[in-house]
């Protein structure tokens, strides 16, 4: 091919690439517009607002870092909400992951009506947080609820779960376990991709079921566990619908999650700037926890093909 031919070919190739890129951008343009208007824009705006005092019904006033300072020095409810959220994450994430993995192991066996059971355990995950919370309000109902009536059948006394200070956070943890269908499906997919030759080799070596689980299954599942734990912590820190619908943050602020306190600050107290600052602190908490997990991941997460 002579030089002219090469140049023409190169120009055509470039214009084709440009056209392909334009076509691609044209197709994702509606999403980009939506993202900028409804996600990216508000994120940037909330950062700016966090330095203003804005009641919505009056013009914003510059406040500097006052919101951030007040949050840590004078807002008792912020301290409570951090503690409530921390406790919830600490309890619900490990229990949820263990149960999800357990269920996935069971549903990875050859059992009758396997498809049905998988659907049943996944089904609650497709129910919206609000609808699910309303169902659980009824399940926890003192007189009519299935929980207390079930306990009564086995001779145990029920509680007023959502109004009992020592019990209410536990009640919300149990509700959160209703949604383990999502991590369960991820574990299930990971289990089905495990290389069988490892188990065959272990069988030849005479390994028992327990040894195979701890020496093969868990290490091979570690990327899925890592992903689920990261996602579990993020969603738990952001918990909102359950306390909003089921308890309103009570009794006595026992379920005042960070997300709920943020919402109340914005829409009940009309402290939009303060709520924005709180949202950024929430982001930093999530970012910090996630970064911490990524740092620890190199010690326990095994990726096939990685040099260890």
């Amino acid at each position: 091919m002579n030089t002219t031919g090469f140049t023409v070919h190169n120009t055509i190739w470039r214009s084709r690439r440009l056209r392909d890129a334009l076509v691609a951008y044209a197709f994702i343009l509606p999403w980009i517009i939506g993202f900028v208007l409804f996600v990216g824009g508000p994120i940037v705006a909330s950062f700016g607002l966090s330095f203003f005092r804005w009641k919505m019904i009056a013009p914003p006033r510059f406040y500097g870092l006052t919101h951030y300072i007040n949050m840590f020095t004078s807002d008792e409810l912020f301290r409570i909400s951090i503690w409530v959220t921390f406790k919830f994450v600490l309890i619900s994430v490990p229990i949820g992951q263990i149960l999800a993995l357990g269920l996935a192991l069971l549903l990875n066996q050859r059992v009758v009506m396997l498809g049905f059971w998988r659907s049943v355990f996944y089904l609650p995950a497709v129910v919206s947080g609000v609808a699910g919370s309303i169902i659980w309000v009824w399940m926890y109902h003192n007189e009519l609820g299935i929980v207390n009536n079930g306990l009564q059948l086995i001779g145990l006394e029920g509680r007023n779960w959502l109004f009992d200070r020592p019990m209410v956070l536990g009640a919300l943890v149990v509700k959160s376990l209703w949604n383990i269908g999502i991590p369960m499906v991820i574990y299930l997919a990971a289990l089905q991709g495990l290389p069988q030759q490892l188990y065959e080799a272990a069988d030849i070596d005479g390994a028992g079921e327990g040894a195979k689980f701890f020496a093969i299954t868990l290490p091979m599942l570690s990327p899925a566990i890592f992903f689920n734990v990261v996602m579990g912590i993020i969603t738990s820190v952001q918990t909102f619908a359950e306390p909003y619908v089921m308890t309103g943050g009570g009794p006595d602020n026992a379920t005042l999650f960070l997300g709920l306190h943020l919402y109340q600050s914005a829409f009940h107290f009309l402290k939009m700037g303060y709520a924005s600052a709180m949202a950024w602190i929430m982001f930093l908490i999530i970012f910090g926890l996630t970064a911490f997990q990524f740092r620890l991941a190199s010690r326990w997460v095994y990726y096939e093909g990685d040099a260890r």
């Binding site: 076509v23 919505m56 019904i57 003192n142 009570g250 006595d252 009940h268 009309l270």
Partner: protein, 440 residues
């Protein structure tokens, strides 16, 4: 057969891009508000001015007023907008500058929107009406939405709290009925104790709805105390009258022999079931808003009504709302025409009739049939209900009410659950609340 040209990818993309761009521009364009419509009204005399009337409920009896208004003012078209999630959406509309021309908002919200210049001062309009008689309104209601000489609304109907009692339960316990002319906290406690039989789940009084902390406001008033100073700049939760009042009722609540305690009420339907419990003969007295009359009549038992028990003075809550004109309205004169019509003697009566409330105008309450009177075959002292407007008060309206109520509510919850005494925690809470409400 028609020949259809094949669309090229370029044509398709160009067309798609144009449509998407147009849609995005249309979405970004400011919403055409009714005010915009009205600005063209001058160009075409036939086009009526549109007034948006925002309220939290569908309006009920207001539609009767609206029909009459349309006949009298065909050049003004009033559209009622029912706004759900009122407490969140009204500030959002205010922030966007799209508040309805006339807004019907609750006590503290009306004052706060007014203070922040979202509502205009309607006093000049009142002064401009030849036949407007402010004295027709109950004094507390007329004076409430006024700050620094500016009037941020005109009231319509009001629902006062009074004491309903189950006459059959009083008879069964051999207890005298409450005295209409003199009913004190001491009388209340004595009668309630005499009726109470907790073993059989019968109590003399309904419980205190702990979560509904504004219920406590009236108890404080009755003891001559206040939640806030008259200018709403200071929290008076730490005053002896306030502490004494809350502790008195908390002690009765926790006692379990006057009203169901928080643990006792759990097994019998919760605080929200008070009207049902009264009708079922499980509680003797219920201090509540006059809106429960309908359910009591439906239940078909013999009841009567007296004022709330008094201590240092007779007082009660009277719930209601105010109609105000948004500062962003382009048609303030037309908005006033509708507002004034809707809060006229007949306008208030129309709404009150549907809601079974008395009106905030005395002249509305003179029209028969009286909205608060129900058709029963036993004697009821119905006059007690409108009389409450003479001495009752409207819920306080400090700035930053939401946050201050959260702090007060949390403190009340501790006292009512027996975790703390009012005297121990109220001084700290009062100072904290003062900081919040003074931060205007």
């Amino acid at each position: 057969m028609t020949h259809r040209e094949k669309m090229t990818r370029r044509t398709f993309l160009r067309l798609g891009g144009t449509v998407a761009g147009a849609a995005a521009l249309a979405a970004c364009a400011p919403v055409a508000s009714p005010q915009d419509d009205s600005s063209t009204a001058g160009a075409s005399a036939a086009e009526p001015i549109t007034i948006r009337y925002g309220r939290h409920d569908p309006g009920g009896g207001v539609n009767i007023t609206l029909d009459a208004f349309r006949e009298e003012y065909p050049d003004i078209d009033v559209k009622i907008e029912q706004i759900g999630e009122f407490h969140a959406k009204i500030p959002a509309l205010a922030a966007a500058g799209t508040l309805p021309d006339v807004v019907r908002s609750w006590e503290a919200m009306a004052l706060d929107l007014g203070r922040n210049n979202q509502f205009i001062d309607t006093q000049p309009y009142v002064d401009g009406e030849m036949n407007f008689n402010p004295e027709d309104f109950y004094e507390n209601w007329w004076n409430y939405p006024v700050e620094e000489g500016k009037r941020f609304g005109i009231p319509d109907a009001a629902a006062p709290h009074v004491t309903f009692y189950n006459a059959d339960l009083f008879d069964a316990a051999g207890v005298e009925y409450p005295d209409k002319d003199s009913f004190t906290w001491t009388d209340f406690e004595e009668k309630a104790r005499a009726i109470s039989d907790p073993d059989n789940q019968i109590w003399g009084s309904e419980t205190i709805p702990v979560g509904w902390h504004m219920f406590s406001v009236k108890q404080v008033w009755q003891n001559d105390g206040r939640f806030y100073s008259p200018d709403y700049r200071e929290c008076w939760l730490d005053k002896p009258e306030t502490i004494q009042a809350i502790q008195f009722w908390a002690d009765m609540l926790l006692d379990g022999n006057v009203m169901p305690s928080p643990s006792q009420i759990v097994g019998i339907g919760g605080a929200g079931a008070a009207a049902e419990l009264l009708a079922a003969g499980k509680i003797g007295m219920q201090r509540m808003g006059s809106w429960i009359t309908g359910s009591l009549v439906e239940a078909g038992f013999r009841f009567n009504v007296v004022a709330e028990p008094s201590q240092a003075r007779r007082d009660t809550i009277t719930h209601g709302a105010f109609n105000a004109i948004a500062a962003t309205s382009d048609n303030k004169d037309a908005a006033w025409t509708w507002l004034n019509y809707n809060t006229s003697t007949q306008g208030i009566y129309n709404y009150a009739s549907e809601a079974n409330f008395p009106g905030t105008r005395r002249s509305s309450n003179a029209i028969e049939p009286f909205p608060w009177v129900a058709d029963v075959d036993f004697e009821v002292d119905w006059d007690v209900i409108p009389e409450a407007l003479d001495y009752g008060h409207i819920l306080p309206g400090p700035a930053n009410e939401g946050e201050s109520l959260k702090l007060i509510g949390d403190a009340l919850e501790k006292v009512y659950s027996g975790v703390a005494k009012a005297a121990e925690i109220f001084p700290d809470v009062a100072s904290h609340v003062t900081d919040v409400i003074a931060d205007i």
